[in-house]
Point group: C2
């Protein structure tokens, strides 16, 4: 087997980068010439976690086919969220916790998906099944991924398995789970010095729905009002992105990580699908979504159903 | 959770039925209200195995949405190989050993694929991971599935894990692996009393390739010449199926299970893709494929590449 690159989705979050580092390390322990790479730079939250545990950010790649044909995907499967030349590559492994869509291979492969809160929870299982010990620094980034994806276990995507994995990894990493977790989440909420375009790109994914392309961005904060002070500028940036990238509909979910509530801002059409999906009224293209913190569980399925309805 | 139906692909082979019985039993042991069903009647080979181990053939269903919305797929994922109303159903689990294609869900799910020779080999792992003992009769049908899919460990799809699983299950089932395996395979080669249409339907799957639909049927025998004594009638039946079902290209692979060789007969277009895929000359739409026994590993990827090339 040639060199194998392991990576998470575009606009990588802490799980996309953490699970790639952890799974590449496991593959190396199993004898594979694996390297973790990333489809973008770490966010401030992820960089905080990498620095805390003394890890280096994975090399950023734009394309892959020029250096190898063999890849392993973590934390995603949909081709439009993957590396730009994914269709030329041979996917050997997928470890993921999302729906399966817009994904296909020519050959049989390893595919391990579970409906848990974080890919790193599944990667921990794979370490155990293969009797490989998790190193301290890698336990730290895996723990950080679980804290990030589950908002410190408060997201409805969080399962008992994520909580147990988080506690186990915190012991290996020798950190106080709650204190470290909150510090890490807060490190990702420093939004003031970012442009609107940067905010929209922090954690954004595209989804084909019906014959439309829907972009769903999420921003974590401890102060929703601070973000919406820039509402008009954000709206203008969303309209500009729709035009430039060909999105039909843009949803920005601004999530208070302390209260576990979100405020939604949208641009584009069909806006009635958003109204149907969440049973809301839009005022100035904006609505409150109390209790909503998970794009995967509380936004994408509802929107998908509205588009299919 | 409502009732859950567990099933393999259309034109079920021994793994499609065996893995469904075995995985449904595991789910029941884990507290799920699961029932194994099938998308067709057992073949003679499968019926031999069911009878040998005192099992009843799963109920045959045509559609599912009228009785439940929750399903688990074994030994397949491609929707065109699944139940006719699959797009209305909620897929909770997939256990498979094929490529992933033409498959999608709205929600996260359990997906467990490995590039091993048989789904039942993966199901055995799942029993172990969940600390559930495999009952004797179910070990028997799982063993039969492994023998069937790997042609008694001679197929290039067979891995060390399949061999180990087969031996372990043979002990639980208390059978002589080689003697039972050959008897079971021979039970499936009684072709004389079948019509040509029945032969073509014994173990057949459809694959979208480029903008064409390709049907690939496989028949196991201990006497290839006996099957090709009916070459003209088989050809006519293939042409008739192409017209009736909308297939563009029909490949019939007649496999000698003792010699591990196959003879190919084709009908339809584009025939040059077949010539390219296997680097063969066709005489009377027929060619020898020495050493070819696996549709999944030695036919579908090569054809797919030819269509993409």
């Amino acid at each position: 087997m040639s060199k194998v690159l392991v990576f998470g989705h575009q606009n990588p979050d802490t799980d996309a980068i953490g699970a790639a580092i952890a799974f590449a390390n496991l593959q190396k322990e199993l004898g594979v010439d694996a390297e973790a790479v990333a489809l973008g730079k770490p966010s401030e939250e992820t960089q905080y976690a990498l620095d805390y545990f003394g890890l280096t950010a994975p090399r950023v790649v734009e394309t892959i086919a020029d250096e190898t044909s063999d890849v392993m995907l973590v934390d995603h499967n949909e081709f439009q969220q993957s590396v730009s030349d994914i269709e030329k590559l041979n996917v050997l492994w997928v470890v993921d916790h999302h729906r399966v869509a817009n994904f296909q291979t020519a050959d049989p492969l390893y595919y391990r998906a579970e409906p848990v809160g974080c890919t790193s929870t599944i990667v921990l299982k794979l370490y155990k099944e293969n009797n490989v010990a998790v190193p301290k620094d890698i336990a730290g980034i895996m723990l950080s991924a679980i804290v990030s994806d589950t908002l410190l276990f408060k997201s409805p995507t969080c399962t008992d398995e994520d909580v147990a994995a988080g506690k186990e990894l915190a012991e290996i990493a020798a950190v106080d789970l709650d204190a470290y977790g909150l510090d890490m989440l807060k490190a990702g909420t420093n939004l003031a010095d970012k442009t609107e375009a940067e905010l929209l790109d922090l954690d954004a994914k595209s989804f084909p729905m019906g014959d439309k392309t829907v972009r769903v961005a999420q921003v974590n904060t401890v102060d929703i009002a601070e973000v919406f002070a820039r509402q008009e500028a954000l709206k203008a940036a969303m309209i500009a992105e729709n035009a430039e990238k060909g999105y039909d509909l843009f949803l920005l979910l601004v999530t208070n990580i302390l209260d576990s509530d979100s405020e939604l801002l949208i641009a584009g059409e069909p806006r009635e699908k958003v109204i149907d999906a969440f049973n809301i009224q839009l005022t100035d293209d904006r609505a409150s979504l109390p209790g909503v913190v998970s794009r995967k569980k509380q936004v994408v399925p509802q929107l998908t159903a509205a588009f299919e309805g």
